[in-house]
């Protein structure tokens, strides 16, 4: 017997493949690079064929460094603006190391975009809370920019961000701009700071009870290490945010990107097509099971 979930995957894969050669990489040229932190770089890429990539906030691409390999990287650019493709990449291995070292002019290859989006517009008319840690701010940035393009359609907007140290804080200039000029409550905390650090130290989850939002009318978008997302989701539930209104971006070993290879399987889910963005309502039973 074929399950409904299996039908979903087959449909998703067929759709992805039919939509335009999802397995075929397109060449992109590195136009600009920006060193964000000690180990994190943002690449701006232009398509060699001149056709810009349309994407939804929250989607990822498979980014290929020739001769090294291919890894899934979330898009960190502005989905409301057609132009350069932007990826913020942390150097954690051989492929990501090659990507962050790519100089302007380097040709990379891109497949995608793949997966589900944040759908931040579902929060229109209510409050939106972004909770993120570490490099997790990069996949959330497109949703934040999409929201800010229509800031007046949302009520309270809160961004809670946890980083390892003050030197690891991403997009510092933008955080200040969003707080000072865009009506976003931005609260930042770090795991530890040097003696001259004047900001907050502690877990990002400890900020959740402190900030003002209406739990019943809040969409919460959470992105970061899985343990941080679990703790955040539980703290949001404690505040009264419905599980269906909490969205998390899951990270697994995405490979094909179209639900065929099974590398990113999480029990009945293929994270590359069913995710990466999924509701806590759907993920809660799966997230505390180590064997999955």
């Amino acid at each position: 017997m074929t399950s409904l979930a299996e039908h979903d995957h087959a449909d998703a894969a067929a759709h992805a493949l039919a939509a335009g050669d999802a397995m075929l990489p397109r060449p992109y040229r590195v136009v600009r690079t920006r060193q964000d932190t000690r180990d994190t770089v943002t690449l701006q890429l232009e398509p060699v064929d001149g056709v810009p990539l349309k994407f939804s906030a929250g989607q990822f691409t498979m980014l290929h460094a020739f001769g090294v390999g291919e890894v899934p990287i979330s898009i960190s650019g502005d989905p409301t603006k057609e132009g350069l493709l932007e990826h913020t990449i942390r150097n954690v291995g051989s492929v990501s190391g090659a990507l962050v070292a790519a100089a302007p002019g380097t040709i990379l290859a891109v497949r995608g975009p793949f997966g589900t989006g944040w759908d931040v517009s579902d929060g229109m008319g209510g409050d939106v809370v972004f909770i993120t840690g570490g490099i997790g701010l990069a996949p959330l940035r497109p949703a934040i920019l999409e929201l800010l393009a229509n800031r007046d359609k949302y009520n309270r907007v809160v961004l809670l961000y946890g980083a390892r140290t003050p030197d690891d804080i991403l997009f510092g200039d933008e955080l200040r701009k969003w707080a000072d000029r865009m009506g976003v409550v931005v609260e930042v905390t770090v795991d530890n700071g040097p003696h001259n650090w004047r900001g907050r130290v502690g877990l990002v989850t400890q900020l959740i009870p402190r900030v003002g939002f209406d739990p019943a009318h809040t969409v919460a978008l959470v992105c970061g290490p899985e343990v941080m997302m679990r703790a955040s989701a539980m703290a949001l539930r404690d505040r009264g945010v419905p599980a269906a209104s909490i969205r998390l971006s899951m990270e697994r070993n995405m490979k094909c990107g179209v639900g065929l290879c099974g590398h990113c399987q999480l029990r009945e889910l293929f994270i590359c097509v069913d995710g990466p963005v999924l509701t806590y309502e759907r993920l809660a039973p799966l997230m505390s099971r180590w064997e999955l």
Binding site: N192, P194, R198, Q206, P225
Partner: protein, 153 residues
């Protein structure tokens, strides 16, 4: 400015305590203010005070052999600083310094211990609250121990 008696019911640490208990505890309290960088206490000093933060930010620091002074935690409005006044040997294990201009209510530790011993119901209520603070901080410290934003995550 609010009196201590007026302020205590608003602070999360004292939520749920009845008025007579709050008045009893207020008898051990004074308002204090710390300028930026002013030290509340040093590691190894006698721990004779318990602070609840009204405004500002307090950094809890420790000297690390490799990194020098490291801020390991902070307490802001609604938070509390210090539980070493409650358990022997009543000695601070960390330094505490004001990161911002900070207003707090300082409780005399010996006075609080006296109230707890003479009225076990007050002692239990206070212990429940301190235990909650300890629990929250232990949980947070355990999560931070895994270095979740480290290079392997």
């Amino acid at each position: 400015m609010q009196t201590i008696e007026e302020y205590l019911p608003e602070h999360p640490f004292f939520a749920g305590l009845d008025q007579p208990t709050l008045e009893l505890l207020a008898g051990c309290a004074t308002n204090v203010h710390f300028n930026v960088n002013e030290v509340l206490f040093h590691e190894g000093d006698q721990a004779d005070t318990f602070y609840i933060v009204r405004k500002g930010l307090i950094a809890i620091q420790v000297q690390s052999p490799s990194a020098g002074g490291v801020v390991v935690d902070t307490a802001e409005a609604g938070g509390v600083v210090g539980w070493s006044w409650l358990v022997p040997p009543y000695r601070w294990m960390f330094d505490a310094r004001a990161s911002e201009s900070t207003s707090a209510v300082a409780f005399d530790g010996a006075c609080l211990r006296g109230k707890c011993e003479s009225d076990p119901a007050v002692g239990y209520a206070l212990m429940q609250r301190v235990a909650q603070v300890m629990f929250d901080r232990l949980e947070a410290a355990r999560l931070r121990l895994i270095d979740m934003y480290g290079s392997s995550s």
